[in-house]
C-alpha cells in the first residue's frame, strides 16, 4: 500500500481514538531523517525520510501511528495553547538562563507530558517507536525517565539517579506544570550544557521535532499573547518571553495581521504589543442599532366596535360581515418599533501625561497607558478615529502628537512613548486637534501640571465632552475640581487604585455610547 494511503488510514484511526481533534489531515513533508515530525500552523508533517529509515527497524504503520499519537497529544493536552507553552518556557529559562537550553528543556518536558498522557489513555505504538529511536545523550536520559514512569523497557541502561529524580514529577497534573518544569530543567541542566558544548541541536535534534509558536494558528497566537500579557506581572516579563520568539511569531503571523501590530516588514515591538494585548482583555461592545418608533401605524389588535365609533377600521372578517355591537370588531392601530439608524461615534482626542511622576510604561505596568489603550480600542472598534497628545514638558520638546488615525499600531506607539520630564502642556496643541465633529476628550494624568490654569480655562471654553481621570489627590486636583464644578461637559474621576483606570475609562465611554 502506498505511503499516502497508509497515512490516510492510520489518521482515521488515530483521529477517532483521540475523539476527532480539529486538525487538518497530516501529510508527508520534506524533513531530515533524524526528525520525524514537524507541526506548522496546526498542520502535521511527517518526514518521509524518517519513516523510511525507521521502517528498517519497525513496522511502518507503528511508526506513523506513534508519530501521529504524539502530535495529537501535544495539541490536546500539553501544551494546549501558546500561553501555556510560553509560561513553561519562561520557567525553564528562569532556571537555565539560556534561551536555547530553555527551549530544549521545554520541548522535552512537553514531550514527556503529552506522551505520558497518551500512553496512559490508549494503547499506542508510541512505546515501540521510542524503543527503536536513535538516541542522543539527552534522549537517553528522557527515555530512562519514560521507562520508569511508563513501566516499559525502552532499551535504556543507566541514568538511574537522574531518572529516579525526574520520575517523581507529577507530569499529568496541570497545576504543577510550572513547578515541575523548574525541577526538570534544573535536573537536566548539566546534560543540556554538555549538549550545547557539543553543538547542540544541530548534532542531535529531538527526533519528535521542535515546538515553536509556528505550530499554532495565528488566531491561537493572538489569544496566547493576550493571555500572557494578562498574566505577566510586568511588561518586562512579557517582553522577555516574546522577544525570544520574535522571529517565530512574526513568521507565523505573516499574513497581514495588522491588528496585532505585527506584519511583514515590522519588527515586534514587545512593549507596544504588551499593551495591545492587555487592552484586549478589557472590552466594551460595539454600539447596537437603537430601536425607535417606525412612524407608521399597523393594525395591532381588535376591540369591540361601539356605535358612534369610526367605521373605517372595522374588520369585516372578524365581524363575520355584521355591523352589530358587540360582534363587530374594529382594528386598534399602533405605531411599530423598528431598528433605527445609529448615530455616529465621535472621534476622540486622548491626552496622556508621560511626565516623570507617571510610571514608565516600558518598565512597569502603567495603568494610565492601559486606560488610554482601552479608550482607543473602544473608539476604534466603533469605527471612530483617535488623535493622541502625549505630553511631558512641551517647551523642552516633550510632546508627541498623532493626528487622527485609525492605525492601531501608530496609536499605541504614541501612547506608549514616555518622556519622563516636567509637566507642561500647550492648549494650542489640543486646539489643533479639534475638528468639525466635536471629538470627545480624554485626559489621563496625575494633575500635577505646571500650567494647569490654562488647561482649566480651555476646558471651560470648549464644548467637547471631557473626561479627566487622575490618580491620587493633591492641591492641583482640588483646584481643577473647583474650576470644573459648574461645567456639565466635564467629568472628573479620581482613582484610588491605578488598576481602576481602565474600568473608569470604559464606564464613561459606555455612558457616551449607550
Amino acid at each position: 500500500m502506498a505511503m499516502d494511503d497508509i497515512l490516510k488510514d492510520i489518521w482515521d484511526r488515530v483521529r477517532k481514538r483521540h475523539l476527532f481533534p480539529e486538525l487538518p489531515s497530516p501529510k508527508y513533508g520534506q524533513g531530515e531523517p533524524r526528525v520525524g515530525l514537524d507541526i506548522k500552523g496546526k498542520q502535521i508533517s511527517i518526514s518521509r525520510e524518517f519513516v523510511e529509515q525507521m521502517s528498517l527497524k519497525l513496522d511502518q504503520d507503528d511508526i506513523v501511528e506513534g508519530l501521529l499519537d504524539h502530535a495529537v497529544s501535544h495539541y490536546l493536552y500539553c501544551p494546549w495553547d501558546l500561553a501555556t507553552h510560553l509560561k513553561l518556557y519562561a520557567e525553564a529559562k528562569n532556571v537555565l538562563k539560556d534561551k536555547q537550553m530553555a527551549q530544549i528543556a521545554t520541548d522535552y518536558f512537553m514531550d514527556i507530558v503529552a506522551d505520558t498522557h497518551c500512553v496512559g489513555q490508549f494503547d499506542t505504538p508510541l512505546t515501540n517507536l521510542y524503543r527503536r529511536l536513535n538516541k542522543g545523550r539527552l534522549d537517553e536520559v528522557v527515555h530512562a525517565v519514560l521507562q520508569r514512569i511508563w513501566g516499559v523497557d525502552l532499551g535504556v541502561v543507566g541514568h538511574t539517579d537522574i531518572s529516579r529524580k525526574l520520575s517523581r514529577l507529577p507530569y499529568l497534573d496541570r497545576k504543577y506544570w510550572t513547578e515541575s518544569i523548574r525541577r526538570f530543567a534544573g535536573a537536566i541542566q548539566s546534560f543540556l550544557e554538555n549538549e550545547t558544548k557539543q553543538g547542540g541541536e544541530a548534532n542531535s535534534p529531538n527526533p519528535m521535532g521542535r515546538h515553536t509558536p509556528g505550530q499554532y494558528s495565528s488566531q491561537e497566537i493572538e489569544e496566547g499573547l493576550m493571555q500572557l500579557a494578562n498574566e505577566a506581572a510586568t511588561p518586562d516579563e512579557f517582553k522577555e518571553i516574546v522577544r525570544d520568539f520574535e522571529t517565530e511569531i512574526l513568521d507565523a503571523t505573516r499574513l497581514g495581521e495588522e491588528a496585532m501590530g505585527v506584519g511583514p516588514g515590522h519588527s515586534l515591538d514587545a512593549d507596544i504589543l504588551y499593551y495591545m494585548k492587555l487592552a484586549e482583555n478589557y472590552f466594551i461592545p460595539i454600539r447596537k442599532k437603537p430601536m425607535q418608533a417606525s412612524g407608521s401605524l399597523y393594525p395591532h389588535h381588535h376591540i369591540p366596535w361601539e356605535i358612534g365609533h369610526p367605521y373605517q377600521d372595522v374588520d369585516p372578517w372578524t365581524s363575520f360581515g355584521k355591523f352589530m355591537p358587540p360582534i363587530t370588531q374594529t382594528w386598534q392601530r399602533r405605531e411599530g418599533e423598528v431598528f433605527g439608524r445609529e448615530e455616529g461615534v465621535p472621534d476622540c482626542v486622548l491626552i496622556i501625561d508621560s511626565s516623570g511622576s507617571m510610571t514608565n510604561p516600558r518598565q512597569e505596568l502603567s495603568y494610565a497607558v492601559l486606560g488610554a489603550a482601552c479608550a482607543c480600542d473602544a473608539y476604534l472598534r466603533n469605527d471612530a478615529r483617535v488623535a493622541i497628545y502625549n505630553f511631558s514638558d512641551v517647551d523642552a520638546g516633550g510632546r508627541k502628537i498623532l493626528p487622527y488615525s485609525d492605525n492601531r499600531r501608530d496609536i499605541y506607539r504614541a501612547i506608549c512613548h514616555y518622556f519622563g520630564g516636567g509637566t507642561r502642556l500647550r492648549v494650542e496643541n489640543i486646539e489643533t486637534l479639534q475638528c468639525d465633529g466635536m471629538p470627545d476628550i480624554f485626559l489621563i494624568t496625575d494633575m500635577q501640571i505646571t500650567n494647569l490654569q490654562l488647561l482649566i480655562q480651555y476646558f471651560n471654553d470648549c464644548e467637547n465632552r471631557v473626561t479627566a481621570v487622575h490618580v491620587g489627590d493633591n492641591k492641583h486636583v482640588r483646584e481643577f475640581r473647583r474650576a470644573m464644578d459648574l461645567n456639565p461637559n466635564v467629568g472628573i474621576y479620581a482613582v484610588e487604585e491605578k488598576s481602576d483606570i481602565p474600568r473608569i475609562v470604559l464606564g464613561k465611554i459606555r455612558d457616551f455610547f449607550y
Binding site: K16, H18, L19, F20, P21, E22, S25, L76, Y77, Q121, Q219, E280, F283, I284, P285, I286, K289, M291, S294, S296, Y298, P299, H300, H301, D315, W317, T318, F320, G321, G336, E337, V338, F339, G340, R341, R381
Partner: protein, 458 residues
C-alpha cells in the same frame, strides 16, 4: 444535468436506495438550482451548510430559520427542498407561502370564515394553503410584528392550527422561515418563537463566479414547475370539502408530479411512505457513548450555575467565579429542553445520510453550532470579545462554532473521566455503594445533584 458545479461533490453511497435518492436530490439542487460553495466539511466530505441543513430539516420534520442578505437564495433554497422532498410543484409552494409584513392577519395566515355560509348562520373555516400544506415557508418572518409572530407560535410548535372552533392538525410538516438582517423595517423575533426553531443557517453569497452563472441561467425554476398540475393543486386546495379528503387527492397529484419530474429531469423525489421509512430509520440510529457524554457535557455547560443553581436571565454571574473558563459564565440564560431534541434528531439524520451506524462526535460537532446559534444569549462582554474576529459566518453562528470547538476540546481532554463518572453514577443509582467521581467541570456537579449529593461550592 452537465458537469457538477463546484460546491457539490457528494457521491451517493452504495448502501441504501433511500439514502441514494436523498443524496441525489442534494446533488441535483446543488448543481442546477441553488448554486453555492461548500462551507462545511464532515469526515472529509464537503457540503453547503444551507442546503444540507435544509435537507435534514425536510427529512426530520424540523423547523429552520434561514438568515442572510436580501437576494441570496434564502427562500428559494427552501422552496427547492420542499418541492423535491415533498413532491409539490413550485407554483403550489409559492401559493402557500406566508410573507412577513405588518399587515398580516390571522385570517390571511391561518384561515377565514366562509362568508357565504356565515350569512346562512354556519361557521365554516376556509383554511389557507399555508395551513393545509405540509411544507410551510414564512418569508421574512422578522417583518411580522411580535403579535403576529405569536399567532403562528403554536402552529409552528405542534402543527396544530386553530381558527374559530375548528382545527387542522398537520400529521407531517416542516417549516422554513427566512429573515433578513436587522434594518429599519424589521422587528425582533420573540424569544419563545426563536427557541422553537431547530436550526439557524445562513444563505451565503456564492461568490462572483457562481453568481455570474446564476445570472446567466434563465428559467431554472421551470424544472420544478408544472402548469397543469399546479392548476389542479389549486383547485383541490380551494375545494369546499373536508381537509382530509383534499389531502388524499393532493397525495395523488403529488405522485403524478413525481412521475413528471422523473420523466423530465430524471430526478426521483420521495413519497410519503418513503419519508416515513426514512424517519423511522434515522430515529433508530443510536448515539455512541462519546456522543452521548459530550452532549450531556454541552448541556451542563449551558445550564449550570454554581452560585444560583442554574442559569437564569435575571441572575448575574460574578467575576472570579470558579467556572469562568466555561460557557456557563459567558451566557446569560439557561438553554432550553428543545436543544437536545433538535440535536438528537438532526444528528441522527446526518449520521443516517452519511451511512454511519451510530451518531458520533463528528455528527454532533457539525450539527451543534446550527442548533445553538439562535438559542444562546451571550453576555455583552463575550460578544464584544468576538465580534471583530475574522470569520466567514455571521456572528451568532461563528460564536456557536467557537463554543462547540472549545467544549469539544475540553471533552477530548477529559472525555474518559466524564464517561467514567457517568458509569459510576449508573451504578450508584442501581444501588452500589460508590462515591461519585469528582472533577472540575459542571457535568460532575450535575451528576452529583442527580444523585442527591450536593458538592461544596469552590
Amino acid at each position: 444535468m452537465g458537469e457538477p458545479i463546484i460546491g457539490c461533490n457528494m457521491k451517493p453511497k452504495k448502501d441504501g436506495a433511500l439514502r441514494e435518492a436523498v443524496l441525489e436530490i442534494y446533488n441535483f439542487i446543488g448543481e442546477n438550482l441553488y448554486l453555492n460553495r461548500p462551507d462545511i466539511e464532515i469526515n472529509g466530505d464537503k457540503f453547503n451548510s444551507t442546503l444540507l441543513m435544509s435537507l435534514l430539516t425536510g427529512l426530520c420534520q424540523g423547523k429552520e430559520l434561514i438568515i442572510g442578505e436580501p437576494g441570496l437564495g434564502k427562500t428559494t433554497s427552501a422552496e427547492y427542498i420542499c418541492s423535491l422532498l415533498y413532491c409539490f410543484p413550485l407554483g403550489t409552494i409559492w401559493a402557500g407561502e406566508v410573507s412577513g409584513h405588518p399587515e398580516q392577519t390571522e385570517e390571511k395566515i391561518i384561515g377565514r370564515p366562509d362568508l357565504g355560509k356565515l350569512n346562512q348562520g354556519e361557521e365554516v373555516v376556509v383554511w389557507s394553503h399555508f395551513t393545509m400544506l405540509p411544507v410551510k415557508i414564512v418569508d421574512e418572518i422578522n417583518r411580522l410584528p411580535e403579535t403576529k409572530q405569536s399567532i403562528i407560535l403554536d402552529g409552528v410548535d405542534r402543527g396544530n392550527w386553530e381558527y374559530l372552533n375548528d382545527a387542522v392538525m398537520n400529521r407531517e410538516y416542516c417549516l422554513f422561515a427566512t429573515a433578513n438582517y436587522q434594518d429599519r423595517a424589521t422587528h425582533t423575533m420573540i424569544a419563545p418563537l426563536i427557541d422553537r426553531f431547530d436550526l439557524m443557517v445562513e444563505s451565503k453569497y456564492p461568490g462572483p463566479n457562481l453568481a455570474y452563472t446564476i445570472g446567466a441561467q434563465s428559467a431554472k425554476d421551470d424544472i420544478l414547475r408544472h402548469g397543469e398540475l399546479e392548476d389542479e393543486f389549486k383547485s383541490v386546495l380551494n375545494e369546499k370539502t373536508p381537509v382530509g379528503q383534499r389531502l388524499e387527492r393532493i397525495a395523488e397529484l403529488r405522485a403524478r408530479f413525481g412521475e413528471a419530474l422523473m420523466h423530465t429531469s430524471g430526478i426521483r423525489s420521495l413519497s410519503d411512505s418513503e419519508r416515513r421509512t426514512i424517519r423511522s430509520r434515522l430515529e433508530a440510529v443510536r448515539f455512541d457513548l462519546d456522543a452521548n457524554a459530550f452532549l450531556r457535557m454541552v448541556l451542563a455547560e449551558l445550564s449550570f450555575c454554581c452560585r444560583f443553581g442554574q442559569k437564569r436571565s435575571q441572575d448575574n454571574c460574578e467575576k472570579g467565579c470558579h467556572f469562568t473558563e466555561y460557557l456557563c459564565y459567558a451566557v446569560q440564560t439557561c438553554i432550553s429542553n428543545r436543544l437536545p431534541m433538535s440535536v438528537r434528531i438532526f444528528s441522527q439524520a446526518l449520521a443516517w445520510l452519511l451511512g454511519d451506524k451510530e451518531v458520533d462526535l463528528r455528527h454532533l460537532k457539525a450539527i451543534l453550532p446550527y442548533t445553538l446559534a439562535h438559542r444562546i444569549q451571550w453576555k455583552e462582554e463575550t460578544i464584544a470579545r468576538q465580534e471583530r474576529e475574522a470569520r466567514s459566518d455571521p456572528l451568532e453562528i461563528h460564536m456557536a462554532k467557537k463554543a462547540v470547538k472549545n467544549m469539544h476540546r475540553r471533552y477530548m481532554e477529559q472525555g474518559t473521566q466524564v464517561k467514567n463518572a457517568l458509569a459510576v453514577a449508573c451504578r450508584i443509582v442501581e444501588g452500589e455503594a460508590l462515591e461519585p467521581i469528582q472533577g472540575d467541570h459542571p457535568i460532575y456537579w450535575e451528576i452529583s445533584k442527580d444523585l442527591g449529593k450536593e458538592l461544596i461550592q469552590p
